[in-house]
């Protein structure tokens, strides 16, 4: 502050990570990572930021000078106004019932080996994998306004994978569980059983027919809805995108300027909520020290709220709502989703499937979305044809194509069977930051083009 900054904050972190990866019955990776460091952010109308892994006085002083000199060297500064946020002194903990680092390393390896083995259900399974990862993160946030927030978080996740080949057809299937919490997440996931399941599904898909092209009602399961929500509700709700600040990278938002307007059917209700305990995007304070809270992004099809930093909240003349997060101390925080989901409705899956003709898509695979989050295509792990409630299939290599507002308006049924899914690799920023996110929803039904192979 002595150097003239309008605002300054510091994040100091200490983290411990552990990863075990078994592939094809062999331990491919057994690793332990310790990281510490500090990031300092200063505001001179333009943000200056510097981070270092050397927590000694000369390096810290050098980082401060670097952050200040870079910001000061900019010719044209913005207003750099920050919305007021309550200055907090707090200590939070999102701990583990069973500390994953206290579980014997060899026990975790054995579990991965067993899950990997169980995935090899028959000779058609050609590749398998199982993994467990855990992180303990201690953070300290300090600001010149007097904020002092300490947080301790444990994150654990586990995954299983199988690839099968029959004749010329190769198909794969995977499953992942994860969230804030400890080894109890791995135990609940039941890796050996899930391993066997992904093996069976990969084999079934490798003898399935390719999905033909249709424009039909589609029923999407929770895993598919999680990715759909992530891509076409979560990302365009980030206020920096809405303002066009991400135009060169992640892109913009087609619904910019449409707060208060109808963007979908009355059955569409969407929320971003960092306070969902156990979800992968759980936190109590964001990386600007703002208290996290639930946000109703869309209610009954009407666009209500975006996700904000203190800076964008000032521009929108709203209160900051706690969505600034950084991958680690090395990065400047950005507006990010926490746990973004479609709220459950009241219908049973059987009711959603009760259509004359349709397609049921299960499990999300890979998305391709345009730069305004308007035109989308997302592939599914498996698909079934629906004939008056009966399912035919599975079919392989299906994807849906749609235009976001048209798809939102077509939603005519929403299930009650809500699930939250972990998304551990959401990318945004320059340099790219990969973040833990929770996404979810119930089964939903809408209208989209179902595309087959390219």
């Amino acid at each position: 502050m002595k150097l003239g900054a309008a605002y300054a904050d510091v994040r100091v972190e200490n983290s411990r990570n552990e990863t075990i990866l078994v592939k094809d019955g062999k331990v491919e990776k057994a690793s332990s990572e310790l990281q510490h460091g500090m990031g300092i952010r200063v505001l001179f109308g333009t943000w200056g930021f510097a981070s270092t892994t050397e927590l000694v006085k000369p390096s810290v002083n050098n980082s401060v000078r670097t952050a200040v000199s870079m910001a000061k060297a900019v010719k044209h500064h913005g207003e750099g106004k920050l919305a007021k946020a309550k200055v907090v002194e707090a200590r939070t903990q999102a701990g583990a019932k069973i500390d994953p680092f206290e579980v014997d390393f060899s026990e975790k390896i054995e579990l991965c080996l067993e899950a990997d083995c169980r995935a090899r259900v028959d000779e058609h399974v050609k590749r398998t994998a199982a993994s467990i990862s855990a992180q303990k993160l201690q953070k300290l946030f300090l600001s010149n306004e007097g904020a002092r927030i300490q947080s301790d978080t444990t994150i654990t996740y586990a995954g299983v994978y199988a690839l099968a080949k029959k004749g010329a057809v190769t198909e794969y299937y995977d499953d992942l569980a994860g969230g804030t919490g400890g080894f109890e997440i791995v135990q609940r996931f039941d890796m050996p059983t899930r391993g066997e399941d992904v093996g069976k599904r990969a084999v079934a898909l490798s003898s399935a027919k390719a999905m033909p092209k249709h424009k039909l009602p589609v029923v999407l399961d929770q895993d598919f809805v999680a990715l759909l929500t992530h891509e076409i509700i979560g990302h365009p709700s980030e206020a920096d995108r809405v303002l066009g600040r991400e135009a060169a990278w992640a892109g913009k938002a087609w619904w910019a300027g449409k707060i208060g307007q109808k963007v979908g059917s009355k059955l569409l209700n969407a929320v971003d909520d960092p306070c969902v305990e156990g979800a992968l995007g759980y936190y109590e304070y964001d990386d600007e020290g703002v208290q996290a809270r639930r946000k109703q992004l869309i209610r009954e099809g009407k666009l209500l709220e975006h996700m904000h930093s203190r800076e964008t909240a000032s521009e929108f003349k709203v209160e900051p709502n706690g969505n600034m997060r950084a991958q680690s101390f090395k990065y400047l925080p950005l507006i990010r989703m926490s746990n973004t989901f479609i709220e459950p409705g009241e219908q049973y899956l059987e009711e959603l499937l009760d259509v004359k003709e349709g397609v049921y898509l299960k499990g999300a695979k890979i998305p391709s979305i345009d730069s305004r989050r308007y035109n989308f295509q997302i592939s599914a792990k498996e698909a079934f044809l629906i004939r008056r409630g009966d399912l035919l299939g599975p079919f392989r290599d299906a994807s849906i194509m749609g235009i976001a507002p048209e798809f939102f308006s077509s939603i005519d049924a929403v299930g009650s069977d809500f699930e939250m899914r972990p998304i551990p690799n959401c990318g945004k920023g320059d340099p790219m930051q990969t973040l833990y996110i929770g996404n979810g929803g119930p089964h939903i039904r809408g209208l989209a083009v179902v595309a087959g192979v390219g």
């Binding site: 510097a50 910001a71 198909e171 991400e246 060169a248 979305i369």
Partner: protein, 450 residues
Amino acid sequence: MLKIAEKALELTKKSGADEVEAFVGENLVTTVRIAASRVIETKKVHDYGIGIRAAIDQKVGFACANSFSQELSERAVSIARARPPNPDFNGFSEATKSKKVGDICDRALAKLQPARASELADLMLQAALDFDRRVVDVSGALNVVVERCAIANTNGLAGADETTRIFGHLTVESRGVGESEGGAWLGSTSLHGFNPSEVGKRAAELAVNSLGPKKVKSGKYNVILEPAAVAELFYHVLGYAVNGRDVHDRYSYFTDKLGKIVASEGLNIYDWGNMAGGLCSKTFDDEGVPTRRTPLIERGKLVSFIYDRRYAGKANTDSTGNGLRLIDMPGRYYGVEPSPYITNLAIEPGDLKREELIADTEEGLLLSRIWYTYPITPQLGDFSTTSRCGFLIHNGEVIGAVQQVRIHENLPRLLKQITGIASDVKQIMPWGASGAICAPSLRFRGVRIS
């Protein structure tokens, strides 16, 4: 750094390891972000650390930290002891002398003052704003990356490397008859090789030329992808297909295709880790294997894949010098074990100038930039993408801009439908990429547009 690596070897051996490899990395990443036609963020990351692989009877433990200590050695050894052996472990690299690679480290860039980076970004921005009054919004970034590393192992390998690169990109929006956008990307391993104003001018010119876009009908088109679009497509949809890990894992659509014709006869592609002036060139990879030029596709035939030591062993071949330690942050990251990654994926240029390729196209589309291009069915090579800047070609002339189109296609099919390769090669690193693509404009026949 090398002394620290050698000290780590000694202490990890004493802790009980049979074989040891120590990798020390230091990355300095300076970024200046532009949005809403002004510089909004200036950032500098200093990341330093050491990663140790300790092996006992084919059991390898990996541990890393931001500084070296006896505890780090002991942690790597204790992990090795706690796990079963992996028969695929084929030891660490032999002590090999790597040859110097030209133009990969520039002292002026390594010493660039952070405040100077802010000034260079301002020059990019100003060039775009000054280009035309129809330019209404500019966003993008300037990045300067300095990578330093040292590696040593118990086979006697000892080496140090330093590389630099600077790259800038802008997305420019224009308003006239409707709204449009253009983009440009420019990178160099030296400060004198980087012209910030050129980035601004190119992006602004494209944005202005893209005004008044017309809708195109769905159907099959001859499509010329310009270098930025080729880089996006090949990085995301070809990069994994030539990766020995993904071939072994049967995730690549080139699995079982070695020696087969997979592309039009004119296509030659290399991974070129020791290319002079290459944005991702290195003297040696992150296992200490000298980098090299590896032919991947020659005259349309698939002739090799890229490997690190682990996957080379599984395929009974040698490492191609592609064992790299990479994450999202630019730089060679001490905190992960090596895996195969592309370095500079170089497409051999053709004889035609870009303008001649266009003149040779009776009807078609010219796409300058595509976006969010991912393999939605990776084992088949199916991908989906949308255009961000495109033009219609009629009778060999560009006659106007086109609105956004979606392409849902199959790259293995398109590789066999390349009907023209231009000479306009540019080095480009797509957003978030860890490798570079040296891409000329390519023309494809029968691309399905919707």
